[in-house]
């Protein structure tokens, strides 16, 4: 056995290394997304079914009065478009968390977590990559919706981008936080029942809140407390070049909270420590 000194190495990491890491994770998520074409198709079919069938059917039943940011009467399809954009991101966030649970069970997650870069940064990169994928899906949806006469102002396609990025981060961080608490893939079905559906239906995605208030004041307050409502409203206003400041604050605050929660949950001294080894290992 030979003696040796500590191998010479620079301390810390350069900005270029952080950027390389981010690029690598985004690239990998993009490749995985492209390899899973059915995931892309189903991500588009879901909102399109709502738009083409549900909205067409309910157009005559659900009248929409003039409410901000709209300046005139609008079709129901136009009203639910921001909600469907947020729905794409909601499902994508949960899909990402599903893939994290899968990666953890299959062991792939370890590749990420044993990287020498700070763990909070690795999780942020993962979150960022998931959001980037959701943006592709949303813009593909908007393109198809355009042929269905859903035509927001041209500038709206640009102004909605930061809102989509923020809401994507919030929903992705929520998914990441949830994934940290799920021990097995089989338990993920509960997420559908207890997170996705309640968040989507108890929001302003499908009907304006004044309508909800008329029907059930209690549900109205639930909707107000639902961060998904604010993601929808942030997107809705941004699509028309406006800022809903309250929604911006709520979505920003929730993003930070969920992100911090996820980082703590994946911290080895707090989160994973409580779990046993993966199946078959000791």
């Amino acid at each position: 056995m030979s003696s040796t000194t500590v191998p010479a190495q620079p301390r810390g990491f350069s900005v270029a290394q952080y950027v390389t890491c981010l690029n690598g994770i985004v690239w990998r998520e993009g490749l995985r997304f492209l390899h899973q074409r059915e995931r892309f198709v189903s991500a588009l079919v879901r909102p399109l079914v709502w738009l083409f069938i549900f909205a067409a059917g309910f157009r005559q039943v659900l009248g929409i009065s003039i409410i901000p940011p709209y300046e005139t009467y609008i079709l129901y399809e136009v009203y639910i478009t921001p909600g469907l954009m947020a729905m794409i991101q909601l499902f994508n966030g949960m899909q990402s968390s599903l893939s994290m649970v899968y990666d953890r069970e299959m062991g792939n997650m370890r590749t990420l977590l044993v990287s020498p870069l700070p763990r909070w940064y690795l999780l942020f990169c993962k979150l960022f990559a998931g959001t980037a994928v959701s943006l592709l899906q949303v813009y593909a949806f908007l393109l198809i919706a355009w042929f269905w006469d859903i035509e927001p102002p041209p500038l709206g396609y640009l102004t909605v981008l930061p809102a989509l990025a923020l809401s994507g981060l919030m929903l992705g961080a929520l998914g990441m936080l949830i994934s940290s608490g799920i021990r097995q893939l089989e338990n993920f079905a509960g997420v559908m029942n207890f997170v996705i559906f309640p968040m989507f239906f108890a929001s302003s995605a499908l009907y304006p809140l004044w309508r909800v208030q008329e029907g059930s004041p209690m549900l109205y307050y639930v909707c107000l407390l639902n961060p998904f409502t604010h993601a929808v409203e942030l997107i809705r206003f941004a699509l028309y070049g406006q800022v809903n400041w309250i929604s911006l604050a709520v979505v920003g605050g929730c993003t930070m909270t969920f992100m911090i929660g996820a980082v703590l949950a994946y911290d080895p001294s707090r989160g994973l420590i409580r779990r046993g080894p993966a199946g078959g290992e000791t």
Binding site: M1, T4, P7, F13, C21, G24, R110, P116, P268
Partner: protein, 272 residues
């Protein structure tokens, strides 16, 4: 020395210096590490060192605590008690510096099956902050070394079990670590694939001076000149060079020595 003596020696709480026996700094130093999953103790006061450019076998049956120890060394789990250092960098205090010097092959496969061989390597390189051009050069270099250059564009899904393991080893070496951990790396492989992988890893020790911690439950993977740590039910029963451990256990070979050591542990357990 009897098996029980050897057991007691192994159980002694000793100061595990961050330096190897030759005075140089240890590639891996584990000192007084204990870990529990709720009430179940998986590791109890574990301590040993791995010298640079050495092959250390971590021998233990299924359930001995090997994977838990690996999860602690790689910081997948937080350390509840004790200290782990990699070339003097405490894994809890300076994880970045420590993990940079560490390559790992986990027991379960951790490759992305839908990506190609090269794509898996490039992803790993990115996680270590290695730029794309450098990563491509290193990938091609390690693939040539492990004999997978002609499969660079193949989907990992299409590789054999032995090729996947070789790829995982190549991936673990991509960022040029000085310490390599392999957790049951040959499980599920045929005899030839096992021999190939073992030979390749031993060559890394002799030619590149990499310290290796090789967790296994297979006696035939260990040679008399290897350093050995025997882990059983979360405790270290013996450590030292294989020949010495065998002699101290008063056994004719490693297999018999292991049986005596673990029987001694069972005796102690029942007496307690």
């Amino acid at each position: 020395m009897t098996a029980t003596d050897a057991l007691s020696k192994g159980q002694d709480t000793q100061d595990i210096p961050a330096r190897s026996e030759t005075g140089g700094i240890s590639a891996l130093s584990i000192d007084g590490v204990s870990h529990a999953y709720g009430p179940r103790k998986a590791l109890i006061d574990v301590g040993f060192t791995v010298a640079p450019a050495s092959f250390t076998a971590l021998l233990g049956l299924n359930g001995a605590g090997k994977s838990t120890l690996f999860s602690l060394i790689t910081r997948l789990f937080g350390i509840q008690q004790g200290h782990i250092g990699i070339f003097g960098h405490d894994i809890a205090q300076a994880p970045g510096e420590a993990l940079r010097l560490l390559g790992v092959v986990f027991q379960p496969r951790t490759l992305d099956l839908d990506l190609s061989v090269t794509q898996n390597l490039l992803y790993h390189a990115a996680l270590h902050g290695i730029g794309r051009r450098d990563a491509r050069e290193r990938s091609s270099e390690v693939l040539t070394r492990i004999g997978l250059a002609d499969r660079a564009s193949s989907k990992v899904r299409d590789l054999s079990g032995g090729q996947m393991r070789r790829l995982e080893i190549a991936r673990a070496l991509l960022h040029r670590p000085r310490l390599l951990l392999l957790d049951e790396a040959t499980v599920g492989l045929d005899v030839k694939a096992r021999a190939d992988i073992l030979m390749h890893v031993r060559r890394l020790v002799s030619e590149q001076g990499i310290g290796v911690l090789w967790a296994t439950h297979l006696f035939d993977e260990i040679t008399a000149s290897d350093a050995l740590v025997v882990l059983h039910q979360g405790r270290i029963l013996a450590r030292g060079q294989v020949a010495r451990v065998v002699a101290e256990a008063g056994a004719p070979d490693l297999n018999a020595a292991f049986m005596r050591l673990t029987a001694g542990a069972a005796d102690l357990g029942s007496a307690a």
